[in-house]
Symmetry: C2
Subunit: 141 residues, 2 copies
DNA sequence: CGCCCAGTTGCAAACGGATCGCAATTAGAG
DNA sequence: CTCTAATTGCGATCCGTTTGCAACTGGGCG
């Protein structure tokens, strides 16, 4: 299954005319395997585990390219770092555990709809949005 | 009315036991008058217009203090800079005009409620949240 | 099959926002 | 008025990100 995703991402790159170089191939592999929302440093670490010698600047540049192509999504959470995830077919929002930093995805049709409604009321058109719920595991009960 | 707010903020500081120094007095004045969501550089600029010589590090430090005391709210929008606004009595969210960067506030009870609902479903307790709608003025109609 | 060059990379320097160490200053309690 | 802890200005520093540049290379074309 990871394999399927991987192929898709790599092929998407080819279609966009991006050169498939050694470093890039590894970065795509790492991105395809990622189930979370790693920052650049973390991506670089994972890449280095497969193929040392890839410079972090290359990771930055590749992420910029992929974001421009719409193949991945870039987030900036409260810590200010850039984080990435493969572009999902349908948009989703995020829970962020304030203690562990762990990110969980969710989607609410109702919230999506309400946002549109409110924007319209104000005379706006939504270009994109960001909803992050900073949470902790429900204690007690 | 600005006067009323100003007094409140300054008095709140006194109550918290913060020393009211020259620089601080000016920063509080600027914050009280602000209707928008300035970043530190902008705050510093406004402060300097009233009283030159206040160092930007002082602005940073003061904002940190005020945030810790819960007197102001700190935001990090997509541009990654720290932005501030006076702590509102009731929470609100933001529209951000993608072209001008202008920030407009709104509040939706329904969305607030839905967030709680969803968090509960996932077994979380919401500590805080952030909802930003990046928009442009509705064209056409 | 090899040439060629625009795209890509590694490296180091630069950048920009935010923070910090330190010595000098000062608010404000007693 | 005094005394001390809080605050300030200043410069250095941090850290994530970007950039300039020379070397390298993928992959289209002959």
């Amino acid at each position: 299954m990871t394999r399927a995703k991987q192929k898709t991402l790599l092929e998407a790159c080819r279609q966009q005319g991006l050169r498939i170089t050694g470093p890039r191939r590894v970065i795509l592999e790492v991105l395809s395997a990622a189930e979370d929302h790693p920052d650049v440093e973390e991506l670089h670490r994972r890449v280095a585990a497969i193929e040392p010698g890839v410079n972090i600047a290359t990771v930055y540049r590749t992420m910029t390219k992929l974001t421009e192509q719409g193949l991945i999504e870039r987030h900036v959470f409260e810590d200010g770092r850039l984080r990435f995830e493969r572009a999902p077919e349908v948009h989703h929002d995020h829970f962020i555990d304030v203690e562990t930093g762990k990110v969980v995805e969710f989607r609410s049709e109702e919230i999506e709809r309400l946002q549109e409604e409110i924007a319209e009321k104000y005379g706006y058109e939504i270009v994109s949005h960001r909803l992050e719920l900073y949470v902790r595991p429900r204690s007690g009960s």
